[in-house]
Symmetry: C2
Subunit: 460 residues, 2 copies
């Protein structure tokens, strides 16, 4: 039963399991204590710190272990902002950062600070010079992920770090998705990562703060981990995290080549096998193991359920699968289709047979869901075209508004318009995205009595 | 090699190890995901929450898992203060709380709030009515540990909770040291605990917040664990924590009786075997497995080293063993001797032979350290008594100032005084404590050119 959601959490690497078991007996005591059990725990912690620092490319005394990647990001942002509060309270981040960064920015704003979101292009990458232009005299910190967690696009971290360094602004790199594949290049100042993304255990994050970066931990004082990560150290898990990072790095080059080929296979095949599909993200500058595509006229949640029934575990950035019913902010920032969204992220060791099995079932699953939702098979011309049509999709969720639009577009003449009434947030993204895919004209959005009216002009 | 520091961290319970191993394969995925690996992880998390809630005595939806006991306390204090900020920004706590509570109070003060420390008596317990008198109209939260981590004294939690409930002030109980022994009684509002204290793995804390208690999580938003504990859930460790809590509870009654008898044995024997020793804490209302005593004329760090060499791992609240050189705030608040302090906390399964072995080596170790430091064997009268004497112990650390005092007290006549000049912080506590033990009069402290002058009058 293939698991294709490594970007959420990777299964425990055999080396992590082995190291965890070995250190359960040696690493349970308080490393701050003077007796032998404490000294043994401290030795394990020191060795893990050295191994992790080497993999990150920093000094051991620049690295602390946190209880998660999210905590590493929260501490990094709050500590760096606090350390540079005399400079100002402005934060710069890309529009496609992980929620832990976005929520840190929101917390800053709630306490009176400000932030600037740097937009991304259609592949999901920021432009370094545009990023640089958002740096201000009062910018205390800049944040940029090494690679995007939803679409896999690599960000120009080294170039951006250079620009930030020249401007005297520390750059925090969220390396959660990429650290297992290799160190982050360039003159970054802070780095955060999460062990369970590379096959380490849950409960371990990394926070690196380069010497010379002003950093003032927030919250109640705690003497552990240089005051940067409160709470008793989870040494067995830390040892397992460091050992597995070293192990995945040793395999990374070969495995990246292998998985990149499998992902290329998916990227190429999906468009041929499934009609009305958009593969998103940068085809080249990307994580080796991750691909995301969106299927018109399908809702993500049903698709996930059907793929799960067929034995494939994948995730989705569609609004229908999120507790908040808000479509993925990443896909939104990229301006691509959010409906029927599927992210495939292959764990190490995924075979070609597993990928081919997935490609074998996908077309049938998508077709079945589309049929169930009454999606259009082809836009047959209506015998009595009307110059304009209004489709009432109020109260109906993604992907129904787009399905209804697609069904009637053939009923107006070329040059005529279809107006879709919808109160679903996803429609605002998906109707323009459908127009771009279908080469129809998106005229715009108007306020309506309920929800919005989206106007589309038929061009073909 | 007996390990007698269970109050710092207990070795992993066999049930914890077993549960951890079993759930490494089942609990690594994201419990928020819809596919089978996610559903399996969510089931494990739900079952662990139910088991832990039953042991705590709360509803499952009142309990979240944090990454440590420290984090549970930090979140409890900040969330409760924030939830009741309209009431005021005043916090009440006992003077002998764990550092995580004290540091939370300091963080409150740094941000403009205030707190009141309720003093404790010589056994380390608060008086519930005195505690009640410190509650004010603007008190947002009260904190009281279930039992003290350094001396084992149980606090009157149920009575204090009653008083707080009547006053409409929520009471947070830090149950880190006692939860393995049984649920916390009474009408408490919030409770924090730490799994590695009961033999669970590191990396898991519990935070219970009773329904109806106003609580507003602080820091960047995160949807996991009801928004009260940011970061990816460490499900294998959570499962192990819950399973081991249930297991230690099943053994708790019988083990408490057994360990209580061993501790009584230590309490009785230490005074007979070692001269000039003070056993501290309540002899009856106490944790079953913990006893603390202080030895005059010995420094804690040397004592720990020698006991470690002899095969016994214990801890100390003496200033000499702390990185900050500040004597234990607990012993200080109790007004007892801080020098030569030893805490013995027996893990489950400790045998009478191990305890007797410890009692066998202790007198020799203490005598040897005293001899090395030149401690007085007996206060022999000087042939030419002088009415008063000044001892210059400037620049010398605990226990030297007390040793020098004890050496010369016999050289002044009854009614005469000895003045000790010292710049060691511990002297302020230990010279009065020595006077109480030796039945000499502590006259008081005067400012001196360097440090302080401590005046003692010979009575015997």
């Amino acid at each position: 039963m293939p698991y294709f959601d490594a970007a959420s959490s990777a299964p425990l690497h055999p080396v992590a399991r082995q190291a965890l078991l070995a250190s359960l007996d040696e690493g349970w005591a308080d490393p701050a204590r003077l007796y032998r059990e404490g000294r043994r725990a401290a030795l394990l912690l020191d060795a893990a710190r050295e191994a992790a620092a080497e993999a990150v490319g920093c000094r051991p005394d620049e690295l602390v272990f946190t209880s998660s990647g999210t905590r590493a990001v929260h501490s990094a942002v709050s500590g760096a902002l606090s350390g540079r509060r005399r400079v100002g309270r402005h934060l710069v981040l890309s529009a496609v950062e992980h929620s832990s960064v976005l929520h840190s920015a929101a917390a800053l704003e709630a306490s009176g600070g400000t932030f600037t979101e740097v937009p991304v292009g259609r592949t999901g990458a920021v432009d370094p010079s545009a990023y640089g232009q958002s740096l201000r005299a009062d910018t205390a910190l800049a944040c940029l992920q090494s690679a995007n967690h939803e679409v896999g696009t690599e960000q120009p971290v080294a170039e951006t770090a250079e620009i930030c360094a020249d401007a005297g602004v520390p750059l925090l790199v969220d390396a959660a998705q990429s650290l297992g594949w290799g160190p982050v290049p360039g003159r970054w100042s802070l780095l955060a990562a999460s062990a369970h993304k590379w096959g380490g255990p849950a409960g371990v994050g990394l926070l690196a703060v380069r010497k010379g970066v002003r950093f003032a931990p927030r919250g109640p004082a705690d003497e552990r981990e240089s005051g940067r990560a409160a709470g008793f150290e989870n040494i067995p898990a830390i040892v397992a995290a460091a050992a597995s990072l070293r192990a995945v790095r040793a395999e990374a080059t070969a495995e990246a080549v292998r998985l990149r080929a499998l992902v290329d296979r998916i990227r190429a095949a999906v468009g041929n096998l499934v009609p009305d599909v958009e593969v998103v993200g940068d085809p080249e500058r990307r994580l080796p193991h991750l691909v995301t595509f969106s299927c018109l006229y399908v809702d993500g949640e049903t698709l996930l359920h059907e793929l799960d029934r067929a034995g494939y575990s994948v995730s989705s950035g569609s609004s229908c699968t999120s507790s908040t019913l808000t479509p993925s902010h990443v896909l939104k920032a990229m301006g691509v289709l959010t409906e029927g969204n599927i992210r495939v992220s292959l764990p190490s060791g995924t075979t070609r047979e597993e990928v081919d099995g997935f490609l074998g079932v996908l077309p049938g699953v998508v077709a079945e869901v589309r049929q169930r939702l009454g999606a259009p098979v082809s836009a047959a011309a209506s015998p009595t075209p009307r110059a304009s049509l209004v489709v009432d999709a109020l109260g109906r969720r993604c992907p129904i508004p787009v399905i209804e639009l697609a069904k009637v577009i053939g009923e107006v003449p070329v040059g005529g318009t279809v107006t879709v009434l919808s109160d679903d947030e996803a429609a605002r993204l998906d109707i323009p995205a459908w127009c771009a895919m279908r080469e129809q004209e998106y005229v715009g959005e108007e306020e309506a009595e309920h929800g919005s009216a989206y106007v589309v002009r038929r061009l073909l």
